[in-house]
Protein backbone atom coordinates (compact mmCIF):
# COMPACT_ATOMS: atom_id res chain seq x y z
CA UNK A 1 0.00 0.00 0.00
CA UNK A 2 1.15 3.49 -0.80
CA UNK A 3 1.35 5.59 2.33
CA UNK A 4 -0.43 8.76 1.26
CA UNK A 5 0.41 10.65 4.43
CA UNK A 6 4.10 10.05 3.89
CA UNK A 7 3.84 11.18 0.27
CA UNK A 8 1.80 14.28 1.08
CA UNK A 9 4.69 16.82 0.87
CA UNK A 10 5.66 15.40 -2.48
CA UNK A 11 2.10 15.62 -3.80
CA UNK A 12 1.79 19.19 -2.48
CA UNK A 13 5.01 20.18 -4.20
CA UNK A 14 3.84 18.66 -7.49
CA UNK A 15 0.52 20.49 -7.15
CA UNK A 16 2.28 23.78 -6.49
CA UNK A 17 4.47 23.25 -9.53
CA UNK A 18 1.45 22.63 -11.76
CA UNK A 19 -0.25 25.72 -10.34
CA UNK A 20 2.87 27.83 -10.83
CA UNK A 21 3.20 26.79 -14.45
CA UNK A 22 -0.46 27.59 -15.03
CA UNK A 23 -0.24 31.09 -13.60
CA UNK A 24 2.99 31.91 -15.42
CA UNK A 25 1.20 31.17 -18.71
CA UNK A 26 -0.92 34.24 -18.08
CA UNK A 27 2.14 36.45 -18.48
CA UNK A 28 3.41 36.71 -22.03
CA UNK A 29 6.99 35.47 -22.19
CA UNK A 30 9.35 37.86 -24.02
CA UNK A 31 9.95 35.21 -26.66
CA UNK A 32 8.96 35.29 -30.32
CA UNK A 33 8.84 32.13 -32.42
CA UNK A 34 10.14 32.29 -35.99
CA UNK A 35 11.20 29.81 -38.64
CA UNK A 36 14.89 29.05 -39.12
CA UNK A 37 16.73 30.99 -41.83
CA UNK A 38 13.86 33.44 -42.29
CA UNK A 39 13.84 37.20 -42.68
CA UNK A 40 11.71 37.32 -39.50
CA UNK A 41 14.67 36.00 -37.54
CA UNK A 42 16.93 38.56 -39.26
CA UNK A 43 14.49 41.30 -38.31
CA UNK A 44 14.42 40.22 -34.66
CA UNK A 45 18.21 40.20 -34.66
CA UNK A 46 18.25 43.72 -36.16
CA UNK A 47 19.80 42.31 -39.32
CA UNK A 48 17.04 42.51 -41.93
CA UNK A 49 18.39 43.98 -45.16
CA UNK A 50 15.69 43.87 -47.84
CA UNK A 51 17.03 44.26 -51.34
CA UNK A 52 16.02 44.23 -54.98
CA UNK A 53 17.40 41.91 -57.64
CA UNK A 54 20.62 42.72 -59.46
CA UNK A 55 20.31 43.86 -63.07
CA UNK A 56 19.45 41.00 -65.39
CA UNK A 57 20.77 41.12 -68.95
CA UNK A 58 20.41 38.67 -71.78
CA UNK A 59 23.65 36.71 -72.23
CA UNK A 60 25.09 36.53 -75.73
CA UNK A 61 25.14 32.74 -75.73
CA UNK A 62 23.38 29.93 -73.88
CA UNK A 63 26.24 27.44 -74.35
CA UNK A 64 27.02 25.60 -71.12
CA UNK A 65 24.19 27.38 -69.34
CA UNK A 66 21.91 25.63 -66.84
CA UNK A 67 19.12 26.39 -69.33
CA UNK A 68 20.70 23.90 -71.75
CA UNK A 69 20.89 21.24 -69.04
CA UNK A 70 17.22 21.81 -68.18
CA UNK A 71 16.16 21.54 -71.83
CA UNK A 72 18.24 18.39 -72.44
CA UNK A 73 16.78 16.42 -69.49
CA UNK A 74 14.18 13.69 -69.92
CA UNK A 75 15.52 12.70 -73.37
CA UNK A 76 15.32 16.22 -74.73
CA UNK A 77 11.77 16.91 -73.52
CA UNK A 78 13.22 19.11 -70.82
CA UNK A 79 12.63 19.11 -67.06
CA UNK A 80 12.91 21.90 -64.52
CA UNK A 81 13.71 20.73 -60.98
CA UNK A 82 12.19 23.08 -58.41
CA UNK A 83 12.69 23.06 -54.64
CA UNK A 84 9.62 23.49 -52.49
CA UNK A 85 8.86 23.26 -48.78
CA UNK A 86 5.50 21.47 -48.64
CA UNK A 87 4.89 22.78 -45.14
CA UNK A 88 3.93 26.25 -46.10
CA UNK A 89 0.26 26.61 -46.91
CA UNK A 90 -1.19 28.17 -48.98
CA UNK A 91 2.05 28.51 -50.96
CA UNK A 92 2.95 24.83 -50.99
CA UNK A 93 1.39 21.87 -49.24
CA UNK A 94 0.78 18.16 -49.64
CA UNK A 95 -2.38 16.46 -50.87
CA UNK A 96 -3.61 13.02 -49.84
CA UNK A 97 -1.99 11.40 -52.88
CA UNK A 98 1.40 12.92 -52.08
CA UNK A 99 1.32 15.59 -54.80
CA UNK A 100 1.91 19.26 -54.06
CA UNK A 101 -0.46 22.18 -54.51
CA UNK A 102 -0.41 25.88 -53.70
CA UNK A 103 0.44 29.31 -55.06
CA UNK A 104 4.18 28.64 -55.40
CA UNK A 105 3.50 25.27 -57.02
CA UNK A 106 1.19 26.89 -59.60
CA UNK A 107 3.70 29.66 -60.33
CA UNK A 108 6.52 27.11 -60.76
CA UNK A 109 4.38 24.92 -63.03
CA UNK A 110 3.46 27.93 -65.16
CA UNK A 111 7.14 28.91 -65.46
CA UNK A 112 8.03 25.37 -66.62
CA UNK A 113 5.11 25.40 -69.08
CA UNK A 114 6.23 28.67 -70.63
CA UNK A 115 9.83 27.39 -70.80
CA UNK A 116 8.39 24.41 -72.67
CA UNK A 117 9.75 21.82 -70.21
CA UNK A 118 8.34 19.39 -67.63
CA UNK A 119 8.59 19.92 -63.88
CA UNK A 120 9.77 17.94 -60.87
CA UNK A 121 9.78 19.00 -57.22
CA UNK A 122 12.44 18.38 -54.57
CA UNK A 123 11.62 18.89 -50.89
CA UNK A 124 14.74 19.94 -48.98
CA UNK A 125 14.47 21.77 -45.65
CA UNK A 126 14.08 25.53 -45.94
CA UNK A 127 17.48 26.30 -44.42
CA UNK A 128 19.16 24.08 -47.03
CA UNK A 129 17.54 26.19 -49.76
CA UNK A 130 18.54 29.59 -48.36
CA UNK A 131 22.08 28.36 -47.59
CA UNK A 132 23.01 27.96 -51.27
CA UNK A 133 25.40 25.16 -52.38
CA UNK A 134 22.52 23.20 -53.88
CA UNK A 135 25.01 20.86 -55.61
CA UNK A 136 22.74 20.76 -58.67
CA UNK A 137 20.11 18.74 -56.77
CA UNK A 138 17.53 21.25 -57.99
CA UNK A 139 17.67 24.15 -60.47
CA UNK A 140 15.55 26.91 -58.98
CA UNK A 141 13.64 27.82 -55.84
CA UNK A 142 10.07 29.02 -56.30
CA UNK A 143 9.57 29.20 -52.55
CA UNK A 144 8.42 32.72 -51.66
CA UNK A 145 11.98 33.72 -50.87
CA UNK A 146 12.60 37.30 -49.76
CA UNK A 147 15.38 39.12 -51.57
CA UNK A 148 17.95 40.25 -48.99
CA UNK A 149 21.48 41.59 -49.31
CA UNK A 150 23.18 38.58 -47.64
CA UNK A 151 21.18 36.13 -49.78
CA UNK A 152 22.19 38.02 -52.91
CA UNK A 153 25.78 37.05 -52.16
CA UNK A 154 25.02 33.38 -52.76
CA UNK A 155 21.83 33.37 -54.84
CA UNK A 156 20.69 35.09 -58.05
CA UNK A 157 17.17 36.54 -57.91
CA UNK A 158 14.60 37.33 -60.59
CA UNK A 159 12.17 40.22 -60.24
CA UNK A 160 9.63 39.62 -57.45
CA UNK A 161 6.61 37.55 -58.43
CA UNK A 162 4.62 38.79 -55.44
CA UNK A 163 4.88 40.74 -52.19
CA UNK A 164 3.74 39.74 -48.70
CA UNK A 165 3.54 41.74 -45.50
CA UNK A 166 5.17 40.29 -42.39
CA UNK A 167 2.90 40.30 -39.34
CA UNK A 168 3.05 39.63 -35.64
CA UNK A 169 0.58 37.03 -34.34
CA UNK A 170 -0.29 36.22 -30.72
CA UNK A 171 -1.96 33.18 -29.22
CA UNK A 172 -5.53 33.87 -28.10
CA UNK A 173 -4.77 32.53 -24.62
CA UNK A 174 -2.23 35.35 -24.08
CA UNK A 175 -5.02 37.94 -24.37
CA UNK A 176 -2.75 40.16 -26.50
CA UNK A 177 -4.67 41.90 -29.29
CA UNK A 178 -2.51 44.94 -30.06
CA UNK A 179 1.16 45.78 -29.95
CA UNK A 180 0.66 48.17 -27.00
CA UNK A 181 -0.52 45.22 -24.87
CA UNK A 182 3.01 43.88 -24.86
CA UNK A 183 5.10 44.66 -21.77
CA UNK A 184 8.24 44.88 -23.92
CA UNK A 185 9.34 46.46 -27.17
CA UNK A 186 9.88 44.69 -30.46
CA UNK A 187 12.34 43.67 -31.68
CA UNK A 188 14.93 44.68 -29.05
CA UNK A 189 13.12 43.53 -25.93
CA UNK A 190 12.53 39.94 -26.97
CA UNK A 191 14.35 36.71 -27.52
CA UNK A 192 13.91 34.63 -30.66
CA UNK A 193 13.20 30.94 -30.56
CA UNK A 194 13.58 29.15 -33.89
CA UNK A 195 11.76 26.09 -35.14
CA UNK A 196 12.46 24.36 -38.47
CA UNK A 197 9.81 26.26 -40.36
CA UNK A 198 7.24 29.01 -39.71
CA UNK A 199 4.37 26.55 -39.53
CA UNK A 200 6.02 24.73 -36.61
CA UNK A 201 5.46 27.86 -34.48
CA UNK A 202 1.72 27.75 -35.12
CA UNK A 203 1.79 24.03 -34.44
CA UNK A 204 3.53 24.57 -31.08
CA UNK A 205 1.00 27.19 -29.97
CA UNK A 206 -1.83 24.96 -31.18
CA UNK A 207 -0.57 21.98 -29.21
CA UNK A 208 -0.62 24.02 -26.00
CA UNK A 209 3.06 24.78 -25.48
CA UNK A 210 3.51 27.82 -23.29
CA UNK A 211 7.14 28.78 -23.89
CA UNK A 212 6.04 31.53 -26.29
CA UNK A 213 2.84 33.30 -27.31
CA UNK A 214 4.15 35.40 -30.18
CA UNK A 215 4.95 34.50 -33.76
CA UNK A 216 6.20 36.50 -36.73
CA UNK A 217 5.49 35.19 -40.19
CA UNK A 218 4.07 36.25 -43.51
CA UNK A 219 0.49 37.53 -43.34
CA UNK A 220 -0.60 34.75 -45.70
CA UNK A 221 0.83 32.00 -43.48
CA UNK A 222 -0.77 33.48 -40.35
CA UNK A 223 -4.12 33.78 -42.15
CA UNK A 224 -3.76 30.15 -43.26
CA UNK A 225 -3.08 28.98 -39.69
CA UNK A 226 -6.05 30.94 -38.32
CA UNK A 227 -8.28 29.55 -41.08
CA UNK A 228 -7.13 26.03 -40.10
CA UNK A 229 -8.34 26.69 -36.56
CA UNK A 230 -5.11 27.68 -34.84
CA UNK A 231 -5.99 29.72 -31.72
CA UNK A 232 -4.27 33.01 -32.53
CA UNK A 233 -4.86 36.54 -33.73
CA UNK A 234 -3.00 38.77 -36.18
CA UNK A 235 -1.78 41.96 -34.54
CA UNK A 236 -1.31 45.49 -35.77
CA UNK A 237 0.05 46.85 -39.00
CA UNK A 238 2.50 44.87 -41.14
CA UNK A 239 5.99 44.95 -39.66
CA UNK A 240 7.63 45.12 -43.07
CA UNK A 241 7.06 44.17 -46.71
CA UNK A 242 8.89 41.36 -48.45
CA UNK A 243 9.78 41.09 -52.14
CA UNK A 244 9.47 37.42 -53.01
CA UNK A 245 11.34 36.07 -56.00
CA UNK A 246 12.65 33.00 -57.80
CA UNK A 247 16.23 32.15 -56.79
CA UNK A 248 19.09 30.23 -58.44
CA UNK A 249 22.23 29.02 -56.67
CA UNK A 250 25.32 31.05 -57.66
CA UNK A 251 27.71 28.21 -56.76
CA UNK A 252 26.18 26.01 -59.48
CA UNK A 253 26.85 26.04 -63.23
CA UNK A 254 26.47 29.28 -65.26
CA UNK A 255 22.79 30.26 -65.29
CA UNK A 256 22.58 33.75 -66.79
CA UNK A 257 20.37 32.49 -69.64
CA UNK A 258 18.00 30.55 -67.35
CA UNK A 259 17.72 33.56 -65.02
CA UNK A 260 17.00 35.85 -67.96
CA UNK A 261 14.34 33.51 -69.37
CA UNK A 262 12.56 33.04 -66.03
CA UNK A 263 12.71 36.77 -65.25
CA UNK A 264 11.17 37.47 -68.67
CA UNK A 265 8.43 34.88 -68.03
CA UNK A 266 7.61 36.45 -64.63
CA UNK A 267 7.38 39.85 -66.31
CA UNK A 268 4.92 38.39 -68.82
CA UNK A 269 2.92 36.67 -66.07
CA UNK A 270 2.62 40.03 -64.28
CA UNK A 271 1.58 41.76 -67.51
CA UNK A 272 -1.04 39.25 -68.67
CA UNK A 273 -2.72 38.92 -65.26
CA UNK A 274 -1.73 35.28 -64.64
CA UNK A 275 -0.04 36.08 -61.33
CA UNK A 276 -2.93 38.30 -60.21
CA UNK A 277 -5.41 35.50 -60.91
CA UNK A 278 -3.30 32.94 -59.05
CA UNK A 279 -2.89 35.30 -56.09
CA UNK A 280 -6.63 35.88 -55.88
CA UNK A 281 -7.22 32.15 -56.13
CA UNK A 282 -4.85 31.18 -53.30
CA UNK A 283 -4.96 34.24 -51.02
CA UNK A 284 -8.72 34.56 -50.64
CA UNK A 285 -9.23 37.22 -53.26
CA UNK A 286 -6.21 39.33 -52.34
CA UNK A 287 -3.97 40.61 -55.12
CA UNK A 288 -0.46 40.53 -53.65
CA UNK A 289 1.33 40.92 -56.97
CA UNK A 290 1.67 44.71 -57.09
CA UNK A 291 4.66 46.37 -55.44
CA UNK A 292 3.30 48.13 -52.30
CA UNK A 293 6.29 50.51 -52.24
CA UNK A 294 5.61 51.94 -55.70
Amino acid sequence: MVNLRRRAPLLLAAGALVLASCTSAANVPAVVCVGESTTYLDWLNGDFQPDSPADITEPSSTAGDLLETVRARDNGNGQLIVSTDPNYAPQSFLQEDGTFVGFDIDVATEIADRLGVGIKFETPDWDAITAGSWSERWDISVGSMTITTPRKEILSFTQPYYYTPAYLAASTRSGVTKVSDLPFTLPTGVEATTLTTDANCAEAIESGRTDFDLWISSGTTIDGAIAAGSPMVKIGEPIFQENLAVAIDKSGPPHAALLFEIDKIIGEMHADGTLKALSEQWFEGADLTTDPSS
Binding site: P86, N87, L94, G98, D125, S133, A199, A202
Partner: protein, 266 residues
Amino acid sequence: MTSAVPTAPILAEIEAHQRRARRRFRAQSASVWVVLIGGLGIALWATGNINADFIGTWGPYIVGGAWITILLSVTSIIFATGLAILGAIGRLSENAFINGAASLYVSLVRGTPLLVQIFFVYYALPQFGVALPSIPAGIIALSFNYGAYMTEIFRAGIQAVPRGQREAAESLGMPERLVMRRIVLPQAFRIVIPAIGNDFVAMIKDSALVSTIAVQELLWRASKIGTRHFRTLETLLIAAVVYWLLTILFSYFQEKLERRMARGDR
Protein backbone atom coordinates in the same frame (compact mmCIF):
# COMPACT_ATOMS: atom_id res chain seq x y z
CA MET B 1 12.43 -52.12 -5.10
CA THR B 2 9.59 -52.08 -2.65
CA SER B 3 7.84 -48.98 -3.74
CA ALA B 4 4.55 -49.70 -5.38
CA VAL B 5 4.09 -46.21 -6.70
CA PRO B 6 4.92 -46.04 -10.38
CA THR B 7 7.02 -42.90 -11.11
CA ALA B 8 6.05 -42.40 -14.73
CA PRO B 9 2.45 -41.19 -14.16
CA ILE B 10 3.65 -38.80 -11.47
CA LEU B 11 6.25 -37.32 -13.79
CA ALA B 12 3.62 -36.97 -16.50
CA GLU B 13 1.34 -35.23 -14.03
CA ILE B 14 4.06 -32.81 -12.96
CA GLU B 15 4.83 -32.05 -16.57
CA ALA B 16 1.18 -31.46 -17.37
CA HIS B 17 0.91 -29.16 -14.37
CA GLN B 18 3.93 -27.16 -15.49
CA ARG B 19 2.54 -26.92 -19.00
CA ARG B 20 -0.75 -25.61 -17.63
CA ALA B 21 1.08 -23.07 -15.48
CA ARG B 22 3.10 -21.89 -18.46
CA ARG B 23 -0.02 -21.60 -20.58
CA ARG B 24 -1.83 -19.69 -17.84
CA PHE B 25 1.11 -17.30 -17.52
CA ARG B 26 1.17 -16.66 -21.25
CA ALA B 27 -2.56 -16.02 -21.32
CA GLN B 28 -2.32 -13.63 -18.39
CA SER B 29 0.55 -11.77 -19.95
CA ALA B 30 -1.34 -11.51 -23.25
CA SER B 31 -4.43 -10.18 -21.48
CA VAL B 32 -2.28 -7.53 -19.78
CA TRP B 33 -1.29 -6.39 -23.29
CA VAL B 34 -4.88 -6.31 -24.44
CA VAL B 35 -6.07 -4.42 -21.35
CA LEU B 36 -3.22 -1.88 -21.44
CA ILE B 37 -3.51 -1.22 -25.18
CA GLY B 38 -7.29 -1.02 -24.93
CA GLY B 39 -7.04 1.33 -21.95
CA LEU B 40 -4.51 3.53 -23.72
CA GLY B 41 -6.68 3.63 -26.82
CA ILE B 42 -9.79 4.53 -24.84
CA ALA B 43 -7.89 7.18 -22.86
CA LEU B 44 -6.62 8.76 -26.08
CA TRP B 45 -10.08 8.65 -27.56
CA ALA B 46 -11.66 10.11 -24.43
CA THR B 47 -9.50 13.21 -24.61
CA GLY B 48 -11.50 14.03 -27.74
CA ASN B 49 -8.36 15.01 -29.55
CA ILE B 50 -8.35 12.15 -32.00
CA ASN B 51 -9.95 13.07 -35.28
CA ALA B 52 -11.03 9.87 -37.03
CA ASP B 53 -11.88 11.64 -40.29
CA PHE B 54 -8.42 13.11 -40.40
CA ILE B 55 -6.84 9.68 -39.90
CA GLY B 56 -9.09 8.28 -42.63
CA THR B 57 -8.06 11.01 -45.05
CA TRP B 58 -4.33 11.12 -44.39
CA GLY B 59 -3.64 7.66 -42.99
CA PRO B 60 -3.06 5.98 -46.38
CA TYR B 61 -0.55 8.61 -47.48
CA ILE B 62 1.43 8.44 -44.22
CA VAL B 63 1.33 4.63 -44.06
CA GLY B 64 2.53 4.59 -47.69
CA GLY B 65 5.82 5.93 -46.33
CA ALA B 66 6.36 2.52 -44.74
CA TRP B 67 7.36 1.14 -48.17
CA ILE B 68 10.16 3.67 -48.38
CA THR B 69 11.17 2.80 -44.81
CA ILE B 70 11.29 -0.89 -45.75
CA LEU B 71 13.13 -0.20 -49.01
CA LEU B 72 15.73 1.86 -47.12
CA SER B 73 16.17 -0.74 -44.38
CA VAL B 74 16.39 -3.77 -46.68
CA THR B 75 18.83 -2.15 -49.12
CA SER B 76 20.95 -0.78 -46.31
CA ILE B 77 21.14 -4.07 -44.40
CA ILE B 78 22.35 -5.82 -47.59
CA PHE B 79 25.10 -3.25 -48.20
CA ALA B 80 25.94 -3.19 -44.50
CA THR B 81 26.37 -6.98 -44.49
CA GLY B 82 28.82 -6.73 -47.39
CA LEU B 83 30.74 -3.99 -45.61
CA ALA B 84 30.70 -5.97 -42.37
CA ILE B 85 32.18 -9.09 -44.01
CA LEU B 86 35.01 -7.02 -45.49
CA GLY B 87 35.43 -5.18 -42.20
CA ALA B 88 35.57 -8.39 -40.17
CA ILE B 89 38.10 -10.00 -42.48
CA GLY B 90 40.10 -6.79 -42.23
CA ARG B 91 39.89 -6.75 -38.43
CA LEU B 92 41.20 -10.33 -38.32
CA SER B 93 43.87 -9.74 -40.94
CA GLU B 94 47.51 -10.07 -39.97
CA ASN B 95 48.37 -7.39 -42.52
CA ALA B 96 48.89 -4.24 -40.39
CA PHE B 97 47.67 -1.92 -43.14
CA ILE B 98 44.36 -3.75 -43.72
CA ASN B 99 43.85 -4.31 -40.01
CA GLY B 100 44.53 -0.65 -39.26
CA ALA B 101 42.14 0.54 -41.98
CA ALA B 102 39.37 -1.76 -40.78
CA SER B 103 39.73 -0.78 -37.13
CA LEU B 104 39.82 2.92 -38.08
CA TYR B 105 36.55 2.44 -39.96
CA VAL B 106 34.90 0.79 -36.97
CA SER B 107 36.23 3.34 -34.51
CA LEU B 108 35.28 6.33 -36.66
CA VAL B 109 31.74 5.16 -37.30
CA ARG B 110 31.05 3.95 -33.79
CA GLY B 111 32.48 7.15 -32.37
CA THR B 112 30.23 9.58 -34.26
CA PRO B 113 26.47 10.01 -34.15
CA LEU B 114 24.47 8.48 -36.98
CA LEU B 115 22.76 11.83 -37.56
CA VAL B 116 26.15 13.50 -38.13
CA GLN B 117 27.01 10.79 -40.68
CA ILE B 118 23.70 11.30 -42.49
CA PHE B 119 24.22 15.07 -42.65
CA PHE B 120 27.80 14.52 -43.76
CA VAL B 121 26.81 12.35 -46.71
CA TYR B 122 23.99 14.67 -47.77
CA TYR B 123 25.30 18.15 -47.01
CA ALA B 124 29.11 17.88 -46.79
CA LEU B 125 30.03 15.39 -49.55
CA PRO B 126 28.77 17.78 -52.28
CA GLN B 127 31.70 20.03 -51.37
CA PHE B 128 33.91 17.23 -52.70
CA GLY B 129 31.77 17.12 -55.83
CA VAL B 130 29.65 14.12 -54.76
CA ALA B 131 26.04 15.30 -54.71
CA LEU B 132 23.75 12.38 -53.97
CA PRO B 133 19.94 12.52 -54.08
CA SER B 134 18.36 11.97 -50.71
CA ILE B 135 17.46 8.27 -50.89
CA PRO B 136 20.92 7.06 -52.04
CA ALA B 137 22.49 9.40 -49.49
CA GLY B 138 20.34 7.87 -46.75
CA ILE B 139 21.16 4.32 -47.84
CA ILE B 140 24.89 5.05 -47.90
CA ALA B 141 24.87 6.63 -44.46
CA LEU B 142 22.81 3.81 -42.91
CA SER B 143 24.92 1.07 -44.58
CA PHE B 144 28.16 2.72 -43.55
CA ASN B 145 26.98 3.04 -39.95
CA TYR B 146 25.49 -0.43 -39.55
CA GLY B 147 28.41 -1.98 -41.45
CA ALA B 148 30.71 -0.89 -38.64
CA TYR B 149 28.55 -2.30 -35.85
CA MET B 150 28.04 -5.51 -37.80
CA THR B 151 31.79 -5.78 -38.43
CA GLU B 152 32.17 -6.62 -34.77
CA ILE B 153 29.33 -9.14 -34.99
CA PHE B 154 30.96 -10.85 -37.97
CA ARG B 155 34.38 -10.80 -36.32
CA ALA B 156 32.93 -12.55 -33.28
CA GLY B 157 31.10 -14.98 -35.60
CA ILE B 158 34.24 -15.88 -37.52
CA GLN B 159 36.17 -16.33 -34.29
CA ALA B 160 33.41 -18.55 -32.94
CA VAL B 161 33.91 -21.10 -35.71
CA PRO B 162 35.92 -23.88 -34.02
CA ARG B 163 39.62 -23.75 -34.88
CA GLY B 164 39.57 -27.42 -35.78
CA GLN B 165 37.37 -26.66 -38.81
CA ARG B 166 39.98 -24.38 -40.29
CA GLU B 167 42.86 -26.65 -39.36
CA ALA B 168 41.15 -29.65 -40.91
CA ALA B 169 40.54 -27.77 -44.15
CA GLU B 170 44.12 -26.50 -44.22
CA SER B 171 45.51 -29.96 -43.60
CA LEU B 172 43.53 -31.13 -46.63
CA GLY B 173 45.54 -28.61 -48.60
CA MET B 174 42.82 -25.99 -49.09
CA PRO B 175 44.23 -22.56 -49.87
CA GLU B 176 43.58 -19.90 -47.22
CA ARG B 177 41.06 -17.94 -49.29
CA LEU B 178 39.03 -21.02 -50.02
CA VAL B 179 39.05 -22.02 -46.34
CA MET B 180 37.57 -18.63 -45.51
CA ARG B 181 34.97 -18.76 -48.27
CA ARG B 182 33.88 -22.38 -48.13
CA ILE B 183 34.49 -23.45 -44.53
CA VAL B 184 34.62 -20.49 -42.14
CA LEU B 185 32.21 -17.90 -43.57
CA PRO B 186 29.24 -20.27 -44.09
CA GLN B 187 29.49 -21.43 -40.49
CA ALA B 188 30.06 -17.88 -39.24
CA PHE B 189 26.97 -16.77 -41.15
CA ARG B 190 24.85 -19.29 -39.30
CA ILE B 191 26.13 -17.89 -36.02
CA VAL B 192 25.57 -14.21 -36.88
CA ILE B 193 22.22 -14.38 -38.65
CA PRO B 194 20.17 -13.84 -35.48
CA ALA B 195 22.30 -10.80 -34.64
CA ILE B 196 21.81 -9.40 -38.16
CA GLY B 197 18.07 -9.83 -37.68
CA ASN B 198 18.36 -7.79 -34.50
CA ASP B 199 20.24 -5.06 -36.33
CA PHE B 200 17.66 -5.06 -39.09
CA VAL B 201 14.89 -4.38 -36.60
CA ALA B 202 17.02 -1.58 -35.09
CA MET B 203 17.64 -0.18 -38.57
CA ILE B 204 13.91 0.10 -39.31
CA LYS B 205 13.74 2.51 -36.39
CA ASP B 206 16.97 4.36 -37.16
CA SER B 207 15.83 4.91 -40.74
CA ALA B 208 13.50 7.59 -39.32
CA LEU B 209 16.60 9.81 -39.04
CA VAL B 210 16.85 10.17 -42.82
CA SER B 211 13.60 12.15 -42.76
CA THR B 212 15.97 15.06 -41.99
CA ILE B 213 17.45 14.89 -45.51
CA ALA B 214 14.11 15.07 -47.33
CA VAL B 215 13.53 11.33 -47.80
CA GLN B 216 9.76 11.11 -47.88
CA GLU B 217 9.49 8.11 -45.56
CA LEU B 218 7.13 7.43 -42.68
CA LEU B 219 8.30 10.08 -40.22
CA TRP B 220 8.78 12.77 -42.90
CA ARG B 221 5.21 12.31 -44.04
CA ALA B 222 3.86 12.21 -40.50
CA SER B 223 5.60 15.39 -39.42
CA LYS B 224 4.85 17.39 -42.59
CA ILE B 225 1.16 16.47 -42.54
CA GLY B 226 0.95 16.93 -38.77
CA THR B 227 2.40 20.44 -38.90
CA ARG B 228 0.30 21.49 -41.84
CA HIS B 229 -3.01 20.44 -40.26
CA PHE B 230 -2.08 20.95 -36.59
CA ARG B 231 -2.78 17.29 -35.91
CA THR B 232 0.64 16.04 -34.84
CA LEU B 233 -0.90 13.72 -32.25
CA GLU B 234 -2.67 11.68 -34.92
CA THR B 235 0.15 11.65 -37.46
CA LEU B 236 2.85 10.71 -34.95
CA LEU B 237 0.56 8.03 -33.52
CA ILE B 238 0.12 6.57 -37.02
CA ALA B 239 3.88 6.61 -37.58
CA ALA B 240 4.58 5.06 -34.16
CA VAL B 241 2.03 2.27 -34.70
CA VAL B 242 3.44 1.47 -38.15
CA TYR B 243 7.03 1.33 -36.84
CA TRP B 244 5.84 -0.86 -33.99
CA LEU B 245 3.97 -3.26 -36.27
CA LEU B 246 6.95 -3.44 -38.63
CA THR B 247 9.32 -4.31 -35.79
CA ILE B 248 6.88 -6.88 -34.35
CA LEU B 249 6.57 -8.48 -37.78
CA PHE B 250 10.30 -8.64 -38.44
CA SER B 251 11.10 -9.69 -34.86
CA TYR B 252 8.72 -12.62 -35.33
CA PHE B 253 10.57 -13.75 -38.47
CA GLN B 254 13.87 -13.18 -36.75
CA GLU B 255 12.82 -15.36 -33.82
CA LYS B 256 11.77 -18.15 -36.18
CA LEU B 257 15.07 -17.86 -38.01
CA GLU B 258 16.96 -17.91 -34.75
CA ARG B 259 15.22 -21.11 -33.68
CA ARG B 260 15.94 -22.71 -37.04
CA MET B 261 19.57 -21.72 -36.89
CA ALA B 262 19.92 -23.00 -33.33
CA ARG B 263 18.72 -26.46 -34.39
CA GLY B 264 22.13 -27.44 -35.72
CA ASP B 265 23.75 -26.81 -32.35
CA ARG B 266 21.88 -29.54 -30.50
